[in-house]
Symmetry: C2
Subunit: 331 residues, 2 copies
């Protein structure tokens, strides 16, 4: 009996932006409300007086079926009247906000100012757009990803959007991490007795997944669940499917590939999913590995990879405790 | 030689929303940068975290030629993607914000939060849209029009937009008026030695013009200029061209017509412009009166009325001092 067929089994996915949202969509198709996606909010920032949560929005839009299929972020059938008008007024144009997308930021900001948590606001926005799975920001308080580069220290969106990832990264920091804590909802997701596994989506490990694990107590809660954790490599044959993962690995003195990513996740994950193209690397990895097609072009690709992840979790379930003891928790 | 031909003569217009903006446009055609429009900000409010200045925006859009010609407010060629998306997210829909219009509120709010004055922000927005005349908010601080009605106390936009002026008004208050003061720019406009006259546009005297005169020191500065003040009646044959002026006058126990409006402005204005239809009322008015076409349908109508106002100012100029002494200032 396949994992997804177990009617009460729940899963948690950890996700950054576009790549993570793609696998989350596959998982959502299989699991519906039995899926909780914990999303990176290290990219969040204040822009034009609005609280913008880029990765949370990508998760919501993708799972709601309203994402722009060409970019993987923003909304489909979008109009751009606001940006055109804003630029005529001399407003900042480097972060492009579509007219419909803007409604998300305005409504989020309005609710946050009224005292709602980011978790509560996210739940409202996702529900309004018809999302059945649960989308949780990794924490409610501020934890901001900041990069030290050859061009100085940059806030994440300045680096990622304004500078188009061109600066050379020297180090990555998570400002406010010391004061952050997992939300009650995140802790409850890991403590759920119906939890059957955790999937770390193929997001950038340094920029998108590390901020999640930087929330004090979050990885401890994940490991304390005793459930298998499976990570999917965002690198195929040394190249990132999207974004600066390969470039950043090189800048950090690493080899862009599954081996150094698996090493980065050592102690945190019980199984590693690599692309079939990288099948030969399996022997070099110190943890159970599954090779499959990880490139997600079609919806079927996403569902197939999701099914592989769930099956892998089921396969690891019997051996998780032993394996965890052998590796020791990284924290 | 007509007033508008006097190359250095400057004029100040006091204006509320749509009706006032129409005459301002006529004046702007004749005067260009020699016109300063002081605009009511008693209608300003905070909505969706944005500082919205409805009358200032109507002035800017009208003088910039980008106003929606069907409504007289908002922008032409507007799109409504934001509002549709906001309502799907459960956001408030009673105040309609077009996508391009939204850029004005976002940029204004951003600049105010950065410490710019409302006057500075208004100047920037107007200049960005190519307005040559000067548009000044009546003050930089908060002064909010509040109406006490049979349905309780309402903020102005709640009364005007959300409740569509249906509640019966018992009284009108200007919250924060005691702490308000004219901006240096407003005082400078009245102190300008090139000032040749002041035109009170055909806006609602109680809701749109009174808030301007409620700014402590503003009417004193206007009268101290010693220049003729001409007001245009917003009522033609007992009916308001637009908005609730006639309804409000009745609710306040007044007769909806030029006579009670002239009485309201007694001591503040030196001349009164009424519609030709009301020509018979001229004898009942205690101040110099000019009857002309005041309905502004076409641009030519606006320019013609503007020319009438300037000529009337010129005509009154020789008699102003004597007249003011005779009437005494209302303050």
């Amino acid at each position: 009996m396949s994992a997804q067929a177990q009617g009460s089994a729940r899963y948690v996915a950890l996700s950054g932006g576009v790549g993570g949202a793609k696998l989350s969509l596959g998982l959502a198709h299989l699991l519906g409300e039995r899926l909780t996606v914990i999303v990176n909010t290290g990219d969040d920032f204040e822009h034009l007086g609005l609280h913008i949560s880029p990765d949370v929005d990508t998760a919501i839009y993708t799972l709601a079926g309203v994402v722009n299929p060409e970019t993987g972020w923003g909304r489909r059938d979008e109009t751009w009247t606001f940006m055109q008008a804003l630029q005529r007024l001399g407003g900042p144009g480097w972060f492009r906000l579509g007219d419909a997308d803007l409604a998300t930021h305005v409504e989020r900001t309005r609710r946050l100012r009224a005292g709602e948590t980011l978790t509560g606001t996210t739940a409202h926005l996702a529900r309004s757009l018809g999302v059945r799975s649960r989308i949780l920001p990794m924490c409610d308080g501020p934890l901001r990803t900041v990069v030290d580069t050859d061009q100085g220290t940059l806030a994440f969106q300045e680096y990622f959007v304004r500078e188009q990832c061109r600066p050379v990264i020297r180090s990555i920091r998570f400002e406010g991490a010391h004061a952050a804590k997992p939300s009650p909802e995140v802790l409850a997701a890991f403590a759920d007795t119906a939890l059957a596994g955790i999937i770390v989506c193929p997001s950038n490990p340094w920029l998108s997944v590390d901020p999640i694990f930087a929330v004090p107590g979050l990885r401890e809660a994940m490991r304390a669940s005793g459930r298998p954790v499976v990570a999917v490599s965002p690198i195929i044959a040394g190249r990132a499917v999207k974004g600066p993962t390969a470039k950043i690995m090189q800048e950090l003195g690493l080899q862009a590939g599954a081996v150094d990513i698996a090493r980065h996740y050592a102690g945190l994950v019980d199984g590693f999913v690599i692309d079939s193209e990288d099948r030969a690397l399996a022997d070099k990895l110190a943890i159970p590995t599954r090779a499959t097609r990880t490139l997600m072009t079609t919806l079927d690709d996403k569902i197939a990879l999701a099914r592989d992840c769930l099956d892998f979790c089921a396969e690891l379930a019997g051996t998780t405790s032993r394996h965890s003891q052998g590796q020791g928790a990284r924290s």
